[in-house]
Amino acid sequence: MANFTLNINGKQQTVDVDPATPMLWVLRDHLNLVGTKYGCGIAQCGACTIHLGDVAMRSCMLPVSQVGNQAVTTIEGLSENGDHPVQQAWLEHDVAQCGYCQSGQIMNAAALLKANPKPSDAEIEGAMNGNICRCATYVRIKAAIKTAAG
C-alpha cells in the first residue's frame, strides 16, 4: 500500500492503495466516481475510458502509480453541468440504450474532437473502434459525434 495524491477533475485527492491498482478501481472503489465503467479489464472495450491530460486512456490497465500529477478527467468532470458539446449531442440524438458503455464512448469522442475538431467518417470510426457498444448504438454515436463537431 502507498499514498498517491491525484489530480482528478480539478481536485487533489489522496488514496492509500496497492501501487498496481488500476485507475479504474481507484476511481470506482476509493473515490466513488462510478461513471467510469468496467467492461473487460484488458483494454478491449473502452468502457473505462478517462482522460489523462487531453488524451483518452483505458483506466483498467493504467496503474495508479503511473499517473503522477497528470490531470485526470472522468465523465463526472467532463463538464460542470453535463453540457459539454459531446454530452449535448448525445442527448440530442438520444444515443443510449442501456447506457453502460456511454461514458466511455463520450470520453473517447471528446478526446477525439479535442485532437481533431472536424474528423472524417473514417477518422471517427478509427478512433471509436476500441469502444464496444453491446446494444449496438453505433449509428447514433457517429451521428452525435458529427453534431458535436458542428
Binding site: 488500476p22 443510449a96 461514458s103 457498444c133
Partner: protein, 753 residues
C-alpha cells in the same frame, strides 16, 4: 417483496440521501422531470392513486415503471402510456423504477418481467387503466367540489375544466380529494385517435444521468461497510468443485474470507429459470475489487468431473425431466453429432398434405443445410448483485430481468418467506436474455449471510463469458420439391440443436404450402443455454429466409414477390389450422420495405448488392432490405431499410433506436459471433478473443419505418433481430455469388470467398 409501502417515507429518504451517501439508484432522479429539461419543485405531500402513480399537491406527478430497464427504454415509454391516459403535461412528470412487488404489479412472476418483448405488450392495458382511473377520480373530485356533473368536466395537460361554469383547477389542487374517491374498475379509456403523447417521440428520461455518469447500474450500488465478493467457478462445463485451499488468498491484503457456497439445497426442485451449471462455487470476500481480483488468483482449487444426472424442472410447460450428461464437450463433436442427427428422420411436429409423395414425384429437389454456433450474451455490465442479509431479512439490489422467478428460489435457499425479501431493480447494462437467469443474486445473498455484512458480488468479464447461459448451437435442413415448371410442390424443414430445437413449425411458410413437413430433434448437453434475444428465431429466421431466397431464384421469381404470393395463399386459403402469424400484417411489412427501399425500382448503385428478409415473432412483423458493398473481400453494410409492424408505437424514436441496435447486433452476430468449447471449457473468455461488432463494421445508415395502425402494441425489442441474418446472407450471395450456410459468416476468416 415489500408488502408495506410507504411512498412518502421512501421519497423523503431518497431526497435526503441525495445530499450524501449513495444508497440506491432512485435518489438522484428525485427532482428531474421526465423530459429531462428542467428541475421540478418537489411537492410537500404526495397522494397515492394506484401502484403506478401519485400526484403532489403542486401538480407534479410521479409515475412508476414496473418492469426492469435494460435499454429497451421502458423507463420512458411505460410512464408515457400512463401520462397519456392521465392527460398530464409530460414536463410535470417524474419517473421512478418500482420495486419488485408481486401484489401491486400482478400477475405474480410475470408482472415485472423484462423479456420476450412482452413489456409494453403485456402492460398496455394496466398502464392505460392506471392513468385513466386516476383521471376519472380527479374528475369526480372536481365534480363534487364544483357541484357539477362529472361528465361535463374535461381534462387537458393536468388541468380540470368545467366549460359552463368557467371553473378550472390543476390536478394538484384536486389530488387530496381525488385520492379518496373509489377506484373505478373499468375506467373509460381515450380513443386512440385522441392520443397526444403516445406516438410522439420523447427523450430517454435517464438521458442526462447516463451522459454524466451518474450511479444507476448494479455495479454502482454502494452502502456503508459494503464488502466486495467474487466467485471462482469450475473451469469447464461438466466439472464441479472437489476441494479448495483458500489460506494463501485469505492472507492477502484486504481479504476477509474465502469459503464455498451452494446455490441450492439438496432436493430443491428447480424452476424453469434456475439455469445454473455451477451451483457450487468458491467465494472470496474483501474490501476492494482489485484486492479480491488478486486474491482470486491465489486460490488453490481442485475440480472433478460431474456424474450424469436427471432432474425435474418445473418450467413453462409444467414439470419436465431433464437429463444432463457427464463429460467434457467439444464444439467439433457437436458439429459431427448434429450432422449425424440431421441425416436421420426427426420427430414430426407438423404435416400438411402428403409431402413424402410430393417429394417423390418432384422434377427437382433443392436441399440446403444451415448451422450456427453457441453465442455468449456479453452484456456490457458483467453479472453482479448487491445483498444485505440481516437475520431472516434479505435486501438485494441489482440487474435482473425477472425478479418473480428468482424470489422463490432465494426464499427456498434461505428458508425464509418471500415477504422477508426486498428486491430493488437497478438499470441493467444490457440483458439480452442472460439476466433472466439470476443465480448470481442467490450467490450474493449467501455470501452476505456468511459475512454478516452487505456485499456486492462482481463477476469478472471472464466469469461472465465462461459461465454463460448461451444461445444454443442449432442446425436446420430445408428441402423444397419443384415440378418441371418450377412450381413449388412441397416444403420440408428438419431442425434441431444442442440441447433444443429452433423449430417453429406453425410459422410462415407453414400455411402457405399444401404439402408441408416439419420435424425436430435435439441432443443432450451439460452446457447451459437459455434465452438470447429472440430465442430460436434468432437462428431459424436466417436459415429459412436464406432458403426462401434460394428457392425464389430457382423458381425464377423476385424474392419479395415470391413471399407475397405465398402470403396471399396463406391469407386467402390457409393450409392447416394452426398458423401462428397474420399473413396480411406479414405482407404489409414486405410491401412497406419494398416501397421504402425502392426495391426493384430504383437501380442500386454500382457495386451495391441487396438482400431482403422478413420474419414474424413476438407477435410483430419485421422486414429488412440490406445494401452492401465489398471492400478488400470484406462486406461493408451501406444501408439497411427496415419496416416494422408492432402495432401502435409508443415512442417512435426510441423504437427506431432499438431497431437500429437489433439490426447492428444481428449483423455482428451473423458475421463474427461464436462461442466454442474444448474439453468443456468456453474457449473465449474476453473481448480479445470474442469478436463483437464495432463501429467501423456497423451499417453506415439505417432507415426505420413503422406500419401505422391502431393495433395494441406487440413486441419490439426482439422482432427486428432475427430477419437481419437472412437479409445479410442474401446480400452476401448477390455480392459474391456464393451462398453462406454456416454462422458466423466471417468469424476469424477475414475475407469472404
Amino acid at each position: 417483496m415489500t408488502t408495506s409501502n410507504s411512498r412518502r417515507t421512501f421519497l423523503k429518504n431518497s431526497v435526503l440521501a441525495s445530499g450524501g451517501m449513495v444508497i440506491g439508484v432512485n435518489w438522484l432522479t428525485g427532482c428531474k422531470n421526465a423530459s429531462s429539461e428542467a428541475a421540478l419543485t418537489m411537492p410537500k405531500e404526495w397522494f397515492n392513486f394506484n401502484a403506478y402513480l401519485k400526484i403532489g399537491e403542486n401538480g407534479v406527478v410521479t409515475i412508476f415503471t414496473p418492469n426492469p430497464e435494460f435499454g429497451q427504454n421502458v423507463m420512458t415509454s411505460m410512464p408515457m402510456v400512463v401520462a397519456e391516459e392521465l392527460d398530464v403535461d409530460w414536463r410535470n412528470v417524474l419517473v421512478e423504477m418500482a420495486p419488485f412487488d408481486a401484489v401491486k404489479y400482478p400477475p405474480a412472476i410475470f408482472g415485472q418481467f423484462t423479456g420476450g418483448s412482452r413489456g409494453i405488450m403485456s402492460k398496455w392495458e394496466p398502464l392505460r387503466n392506471a392513468g385513466a382511473a386516476a383521471r376519472h377520480m380527479l374528475k369526480e373530485a372536481a365534480a363534487q367540489a364544483w357541484q357539477v356533473p362529472a361528465s361535463e368536466i374535461t381534462t387537458s395537460a393536468g388541468v380540470l375544466k368545467h366549460e359552463k361554469s368557467g371553473k378550472s383547477a390543476g390536478y394538484g389542487e384536486m389530488a387530496a380529494a381525488a385520492a379518496k374517491i373509489p377506484v373505478p374498475v373499468k375506467p373509460t379509456l381515450k380513443e386512440i385517435k385522441d392520443f397526444k403523447l403516445i406516438s410522439q417521440s420523447q427523450k430517454n428520461v435517464r438521458g442526462k444521468e447516463i451522459v454524466t455518469g451518474k450511479p444507476m447500474f448494479g455495479v454502482d450500488y454502494k452502502v456503508d461497510g459494503m464488502l466486495i465478493a467474487m466467485i471462482a467457478q469450475p473451469p469447464a462445463f461438466g466439472m464441479k468443485l472437489k476441494t479448495f485451499d483458500g489460506s494463501a488468498a485469505k492472507a492477502m491484503p484486504g481479504i476477509k474470507d474465502v469459503f464455498s457456497i451452494k446455490t441450492y439445497n439438496d432436493g430443491y426442485e428447480k424452476g424453469g429459470f434456475d439455469v445454473n451449471a455451477f451451483p457450487e462455487l468458491v467465494a472470496i470476500v474483501g474490501n476492494s475489487t482489485w484486492e479480491v481480483m488478486q486474491a482470486k488468483k491465489a486460490l488453490t482449487i481442485e475440480w472433478e468431473p460431474i456424474a450424469a444426472y436427471s432432474e425435474t424442472v418445473n418450467g413453462w410447460g409444467g414439470k419436465q425431466v431433464v437429463n444432463v450428461p457427464a463429460g467434457l464437450e467439444n464444439s467439433d463433436d457437436h458439429a459431427a453429432k448434429m450432422a449425424a442427427l440431421a441425416a436421420k428422420p426427426g420427430r414430426v411436429v407438423r404435416r400438411n398434405g402428403d409431402p413424402e409423395a410430393a417429394f417423390k414425384k418432384a422434377a427437382k429437389v433443392i436441399e440446403r443445410s444451415y448451422s450456427c454456433p453457441y453465442l455468449a450474451h456479453n452484456c456490457m455490465e458483467p453479472m453482479n448483485f448487491f445483498a444485505d442479509v440481516k437475520g431472516d431479512k434479505v435486501k438485494v439490489a441489482g440487474p435482473l430481468q425477472i425478479p418473480g422467478f428468482i424470489e422463490p428460489t432465494l426464499a427456498a435457499r434461505m428458508g425464509i418467506p418471500v415477504e422477508n425479501i426486498e428486491i430493488e431493480m437497478t438499470r441493467m447494462g444490457g440483458g439480452f436474455g442472460r439476466r433472466s437467469y439470476s443465480h448470481y443474486l442467490v450467490e450474493a445473498a449467501l455470501i452476505s449471510q456468511k459475512m454478516n455484512a452487505p456485499v456486492k458480488l462482481m463477476y469478472t468479464r471472464e466469469d461472465d463469458m465462461t459461465n454463460g447461459v448461451y444461445r444454443p448451437a442449432y442446425h436446420a435442413v430445408y428441402r423444397a420439391a419443384l415440378d418441371e415448371n418450377n412450381n413449388l410442390l412441397a416444403f420440408h424443414v428438419k431442425a434441431g440443436g444442442i440441447p433444443e430445437s429452433p423449430l417453429h413449425a406453425d410459422r410462415f411458410p407453414a400455411g402457405a404450402i399444401d404439402n408441408y413437413l416439419a420435424e425436430d430433434w435435439k441432443i443432450e448437453s451439460n452446457i447451459t443455454i437459455g434465452a438470447f434475444r429472440a430465442p430460436r428465431s434468432n437462428f431459424i429466421a436466417g436459415a429459412e429466409q436464406s432458403f426462401l431466397d434460394e428457392l425464389a431464384e430457382a423458381m425464377g421469381k423476385d424474392p419479395i414477390e415470391f413471399r407475397l404470393e405465398l402470403l396471399k395463399r396463406a391469407k386467402e386459403n390457409p393450409v392447416g389450422e394452426r398458423n401462428d402469424y397474420d399473413a396480411a400484417r406479414y405482407a404489409g411489412v414486405l410491401e412497406l420495405v419494398r416501397d421504402k427501399s425502392g426495391w426493384g425500382k430504383t437501380p442500386v448503385a454500382a457495386g451495391v448488392s441487396r438482400g431482403v428478409a422478413a420474419y414474424f415473432c413476438h407477435a410483430s412483423y419485421a422486414a429488412h432490405v440490406l445494401d452492401l458493398t465489398m471492400e478488400n473481400g470484406k462486406p461493408v453494410v451501406q444501408k439497411v431499410t427496415s419496416a416494422i409492424d408492432c402495432g401502435i408505437v409508443v415512442n417512435p424514436d426510441a423504437a427506431a433506436n432499438m431497431t437500429e441496435g437489433a439490426v447492428t447486433d444481428g449483423i455482428g452476430n451473423a458475421l463474427y459471433g461464436e462461442m466454442t468449447f474444448k474439453a468443456g471449457a468456453a474457449e473465449k473468455a474476453n473481448f480479445d478473443k470474442y469478436r463483437m461488432i464495432r463501429m467501423s463494421e456497423a451499417p453506415k445508415a439505417i432507415d426505420v419505418h413503422f406500419v401505422k395502425n391502431e393495433i395494441a402494441p406487440t413486441g419490439m425489442g426482439e422482432p427486428p433481430f432475427p430477419p437481419i441474418f437472412g437479409a445479410l446472407a442474401n446480400a452476401l450471395y448477390k455480392a459474391t455469388g456464393k451462398r453462406v450456410y454456416r454462422q458466423p459468416f466471417l468469424g476469424e476468416r477475414e475475407v469472404m470467398g
